[in-house]
Symmetry: C2
Subunit: 167 residues, 2 copies
DNA sequence: GGGAAACCGTTATTGACTGTAATCGTTCTT
DNA sequence: AAGAACGATTACAGTCAATAACGGTTTCCC
């Protein structure tokens, strides 16, 4: 049994739909992070700002839950964002142990810039495809995401993936 | 509790092709890592074994270059694989400062098992799509990968992405 | 030949991050 | 009024990846 070729020959790079998905996905993520860096943001910051704008006044816990990140992780990031004047921690009127998170004008501005970068990035990533093809691709991905139980806005913060190779 | 109402929505989850790519990609990577764990491997191990089989007898440096990982990182991993009897470090006949990496029979066996897991994973990830749709999807991804300058077998080891969120 | 420079693998060190657990004040329940 | 549950924070530990330095080899070139 030296070189049995069960289905093809190997997990051939040629095929590997799953591999392609994570390869292109990782690339997309990396490139986006690069684009964001000059603005002084990391992708997680963008996610936080986006969610806060979407649901103004939510608590850190709610935010963490929605993004799938631990509250302890949020503290530092919101500290940063607040220090940069993009987010406000107002104390919630009803519940004095939680904060109500709000975007400042500068925060909305930053989010605007992030959105611009996002669109550019999206344009660049999809450059190989025609408009209608991009639509089809998005459709496929949405269906996969739904079937796999992924929540629309959220994405799996890379857990202990190992971080090297994938298929 | 107020349901988060989709007030506005700049990079609306509806659109975000780039987001979808990295979301689904990260999910695929994570799930694959999960499937690999019971075998005692991390995705990077799988990548290493795969490349060694493909080009038997290459040096660690060449391996590292092809996978895009630092030689120092490889040392430990190959140590493991060698300790488990899957890989051999023979000294290269021509150049005594480099090793020639080879797969043992057990190593080929392990790779076989990995291949099986890979195919199962691939099947699971693509479950939402028909056979022909999967083909279309793979085609799109391949075109994107090519246009973006990604090397077929390799994938960007998540660099200092920040590791949290992406779009 | 012989010595400097490039090269391979290895080790040690440093630096980010992330998840868990413990802490402190607040709110809810009974 | 007391104890459990809860939100934010801090402290801690474990993991992991990149950088730099170190011995041993080989190659280049004078």
């Amino acid at each position: 049994m030296a070189r049995p070729r069960p289905t093809s020959g190997q997990p051939p790079d040629a095929a590997g739909l799953a591999f392609l998905l994570s390869q292109v996905g990782a690339h997309s993520a990396a490139r986006f992070a690069e684009r964001l860096e000059p603005l002084g943001f990391k992708p997680s910051h963008a996610g936080i700002l986006r969610v806060i704008r979407q649901s103004d006044g939510l608590s850190q816990q709610a935010l963490g839950e929605r993004l799938g990140m631990f509250p302890s992780r949020l503290v530092g990031m919101i500290d940063e964002l607040e220090k940069r004047g993009l987010v406000e921690r107002r104390n919630s009127p009803a519940d004095r142990r939680s904060y109500a998170l709000h975007l400042t004008a500068a925060g909305r501005d930053a989010l605007e810039r992030i959105g611009k970068v996002s669109r550019e990035h999206q344009e660049a990533v999809g450059a190989a495809l025609s408009e209608s093809e991009r639509g089809q691709l998005a459709g496929f991905l949405r269906r996969i995401a739904a079937e796999q139980g992924l929540t629309p806005g959220v994405h799996p913060g890379f857990r202990t993936t190992g971080g090297g190779e994938t298929t």
